[in-house]
């Protein structure tokens, strides 16, 4: 990364030649076609991951060159990363919540953990509003 511009005096902006920008656009264009091509074969989760990875590559190019992060202040990059960090927390905690939330057992109507089928403590979920089946008579 180039050294930071001075914070005093006139604005010292890094001026990239136009062909750099045209080159970035060409890369973005090729990546778009690649993304369309790859996702035309449905391979489940792999397709989604490939799409998001290519999108992230494109977004990084835009942020680094079009948005001048590669020649600007590091603090601006940190601001962007902080927002992405918050997005990561949001996604992870939501995933944790959904993966570990109890569901209503069809057998006896109590709330159980989906993995271990043990009694699930606390929490409300929409599953609680489902009609509960009468408890089964124990097998003799």
């Amino acid at each position: 990364m180039a050294s930071e511009p001075l914070d005093d005096g006139p604005v010292q902006a890094h001026i990239s030649p136009a062909k750099v920008y045209v080159g970035i656009f060409a890369a973005l264009f090729v990546l778009t076609l690649l993304m369309v091509k790859i996702t035309s074969h449905d391979c489940g989760a792999v397709t989604t991951v490939a799409g998001v990875v290519i999108a992230t590559l494109q977004a990084s190019l835009v942020a680094a060159f079009f948005m001048h992060l590669s020649h600007g202040r590091v603090f601006n990059t940190l601001t962007l990363l902080a927002a992405l960090f918050l997005l990561g927390i949001f996604l992870l905690l939501t995933h944790e919540d959904l993966a570990n939330r109890g569901r209503v057992s069809a057998d006896n109507g109590t709330r159980i953990l989906p993995r271990t089928e043990e009694w699930a403590p606390g929490g409300m979920s929409s599953a609680d509003r489902l009609p509960r089946l009468p408890p089964k008579a124990p097998a003799l």
């Binding site: 005096g9 604005v11 998001v52 290519i54 999108a55």
Partner: protein, 248 residues
């Protein structure tokens, strides 16, 4: 006490402001153009961060819905045209290029070239919104607009005869819960479309300022800041396009 008075007297003397050091565009709360530029940039990046966090809510909603109804999303996303989505993506990427070139031209003091690039950017934004309009109207005609009209072919027909008690019915062979996909589609692309519209207004204001001579090689901040906003709009679309149009 002697130390304190020494410290005060040791402060460097501020030079008397000359027009060169204190140009007309420099606001009085800033010491130098560079400081003013950095403050503006940081402010814009904070807005970009806030926008990302706002869209994060929608992206998480998308992830949750897709986690529960993956198969339905897979079926529903086939209703969106890959071709038209690709065209719009390229249009938006191209407008990002012209926005970046506008900044570059303004940094070099090429006023007319800056205006041309800004005008092309605004034109691309208009093309994007026009394509979006045709996409939306086609979806609404098919009865894919979420709400009580979901599942009613011909949007007009559902008004009046479908009360709150009316059960949603399958449309185009899609499962009833496909309305979640279209709710997210309209919400995410709608909020993005609003940003495109706002971006057009901002870039038009910058264009007017440039034509009137308010932009120079020493003061190109409005072009730079406006372009930053425009690139944010592009980045959000870069994620919306694969998630909605390509993989569902």
């Amino acid at each position: 006490m002697a130390n304190v008075s020494n410290a005060v007297s040791a402060r460097p003397q501020v030079a008397v402001d000359s027009p060169r050091d204190n140009p007309s565009f420099l606001q009085l709360q800033f010491d130098s153009p560079a400081q003013q530029f950095d403050a503006a940039k940081l402010g814009m990046w904070l807005l970009v961060a806030a926008e990302i966090v706002m869209f994060a809510g929608l992206f998480v909603a998308y992830a949750v819905s897709r986690g529960t109804d993956g198969d339905i999303f897979q079926q529903a996303h086939l209703q969106l045209g890959r071709g038209i989505g690709t065209v719009n993506t390229v249009v938006l990427l191209f407008s990002s290029l012209t926005a970046a070139l506008a900044v570059s031209a303004s940094q070099q003091g090429k006023r007319n070239l800056t205006s041309v690039y800004l005008a092309i950017t605004i034109g691309c934004a208009a093309v994007f919104l026009a394509v979006k309009y045709f996409e939306y109207s086609q979806k609404v005609q098919l009865g894919l607009l979420p709400g009580r009209c979901f599942g009613h072919p011909g949007f007009e027909g559902c008004i009046g005869d479908a009360g709150l008690s009316a059960q949603p019915v399958s449309v185009l062979g899609l499962p009833v819960r496909a309305n979640m996909f279209f709710a997210l589609y309209f919400m995410m692309t709608g909020l993005h479309g609003l940003h495109v519209l706002v971006g057009m207004v901002i870039l038009f204001w910058v264009l007017l300022k440039n034509i009137r001579g308010g932009i120079s090689a020493q003061y190109f901040t409005p072009v730079d800041i406006g372009a930053l906003y425009w690139h944010l709009v592009g980045i959000i679309w870069i994620y919306l396009f694969p998630l909605l149009y390509l993989v569902g």
